[in-house]
Amino acid sequence: MMQFLRWLRDWSSAGGNRTVAGRQETLDPREASYIRDSNARLDALFRLYRKFRGTAQEAQMKSVYEKTKKIHDYLIARKRIQELELFHIQYTQHFISTFTLILEAYQTRQPVPRAAPAAVAAARAYAGQELPAKPGKQLPPESKSLNGLAGSSPPEGTRTQIPRLAVAEIRLNPQARIAYQAETSGSRPAFREIGPHSPEADKQAFLAYLSESLGIGKASYLGNALVNIPDSQDLPPTGLVPVIRWQGNTYALHLDQRRLFPVCILLA
């Protein structure tokens, strides 16, 4: 009888991914670290649930935690550790990132003194975007990763205006010419004009002026455009500005303030 069962087992193990029953706990350190990471994620889910205590979503956050734990227990019992890690990368990680961001954004909207990055975090949360999945080994502590994202956004008032980053679309004006003041060494400042139909020498002079005043090296002049630059102190906001191509990107220049604005040119 036993010999027959052994013969059966040998037959079955000749096939694909059969496993012998009663194997040891973890086959290699990778599986052990997956299990550790999974437990860490469960902790993060639990802490997230506690933060939602008292809100209408408390029960849902609790059920997220419990269901994730159920899946965790199930897969570990069946030694399907790779699937557990895959599950976390596809589901849990995104969930933790998204709702941590939402929570932080909510807390910075309140008049509670909190050193938290406001603009980028909130914008990401409301756009419903998810951070790219980080590899299973690294679980970023929740606030630290957000600080990296936001960088140096200045803290604002209670009602935070979320700046909407966008590349402005402009049209080049084929006739307009802009007058600018070129400081020539020694002599008086000369007024020059630059436009799309200016002679090549004038364009070169303009680019030389740029490299002196703004430190922009190899650029190419594209034309002028009528734009509206908000909060420009000296000039009225709407005016003609030169547009250049530099380092592979297109910019509109505010010459006096020495500012570049990324734009994209509509060809229609």
Partner: protein
């Protein structure tokens, strides 16, 4: 974030985010059901293999 404050101000989550939360819970359920189903399929595969062996 006590219950009194929650009822006075807008909720922590927007309507869209609440819906997102619901969807996530649903997707967890679906995932778990798929896991159970995959186990049943595995049992079925093994059973058929065993039957094939025995019927030779």
């Amino acid at each position: 974030m006590d219950p009194a404050q929650a009822s006075q101000e807008p909720q922590v989550l927007t309507a869209e985010q609440v819906a997102l939360l619901d969807l996530y819970v649903q997707s967890l359920d679906t995932y778990y059901d798929k896991l159970k189903a995959s186990e049943e399929i595995q049992v079925e595969i093994e059973t058929r293999h065993l039957k094939k062996i025995l019927s030779r």
